[in-house]
Amino acid sequence: MIEFVRTAAAKCLCALAAAFAAAGGAAAAPMGFKDSWMSMGDIGPNWKEAWVNYALTPRDAVGAGALYMRSDDGGTTRRLAELNYTRLLQRWNLPHAQANVWFFAGAGAITGNDFDGSRLALAPGLQVDYETTRVYVAATARLYRAPKLNHDFASLRAGFSFYEVDYDEVQPWFIVEARRMRGLSDKAEITPMLRLVHKRFFVELGVNNSEQARANFMYIF
């Protein structure tokens, strides 16, 4: 019975991940293995992001993304279309852990409902993360700069898995994310999330401190 429930849950999650991917969702996290395509999505009322990238080497990926940002009151919006580059600056492969330092660089056109036309936006960033089979911690900072615009972004994520699983089983995690962005929101967004990781997909579902639902996903082709 337990096996049946696990299989059914895995199938539902696969379908959910595929649906997000088909919808061109939005996402987080950097890149897959060499010669792989990765799609990522991060979906919520005030933040919608979608990325696709291709890993040219084990350490370099190029891709394209789209980001929609909205102020807390819904009055101000931004839309960014960017080309991006991801570089794994440093990786520590330890016997029971992995730690990484990532660099992001993005460039594209940003538009808004409070100014005319589009502006050239640059979005460099850094991420540091540490993970074991039971613990996950990550800190991300990214600048979103354009003439007369500053939407710098920072986030912290930490969590734990409920238990270890075999490679082909779904592993549930509890993750809390705190993030903040300049210029559009004056408060930190706190989101507790249930993360489900399988070898084929990665999904996070949660509700933030403004009682808004959020969903993140990653899928490697």
């Binding site: 060499k34 492969n93 992995q98 089979t133």
Partner: protein, 114 residues
């Protein structure tokens, strides 16, 4: 001398059968891999190793940090290629050994160990 002749044929047949069995005995390369903590991230190892022409089956064990590749019958796995594929997937191989076991046997051994 005559009396042992009837025994020779069965013995030869037995020896030939033994040789045939040993020639099809499964051979696997077992790697201990550092950094392998997440199934979603480690899927690259399985995908890349599965594409090796001589690979019949791949087994990944996150808890024991083990990756095992079984060779197709009559084929030989290249240890350097296996190391390169795991490295390209983003991980470090710290130990590599060749075993006269199938991936299923290795998996069963790991389950017993747990």
């Amino acid at each position: 001398m005559k009396s042992i002749k009837p025994l020779i044929s069965p013995l030869v047949a037995l020896a030939l059968a033994g040789a045939a069995v040993s020639s099809f005995a499964a051979t696997s390369v077992k790697a201990t891999v550092n950094g392998m903590v997440c199934a979603f991230c480690a899927q690259g190892i399985e995908k890349r190793l599965s594409k090796l022409p001589a690979a019949k089956a791949v087994y990944v064990d996150l808890k024991e940090k083990v990756v095992a590749v079984e060779a197709k019958d009559g084929q030989t796995l290249d240890a350097k290629s296996i190391t390169a594929e795991i490295t390209d997937a983003g991980y470090d191989v710290v130990k590599l050994e060749t075993l006269e076991q199938s991936v299923a046997d290795i998996r069963a051994g790991m389950k017993t160990k747990k």
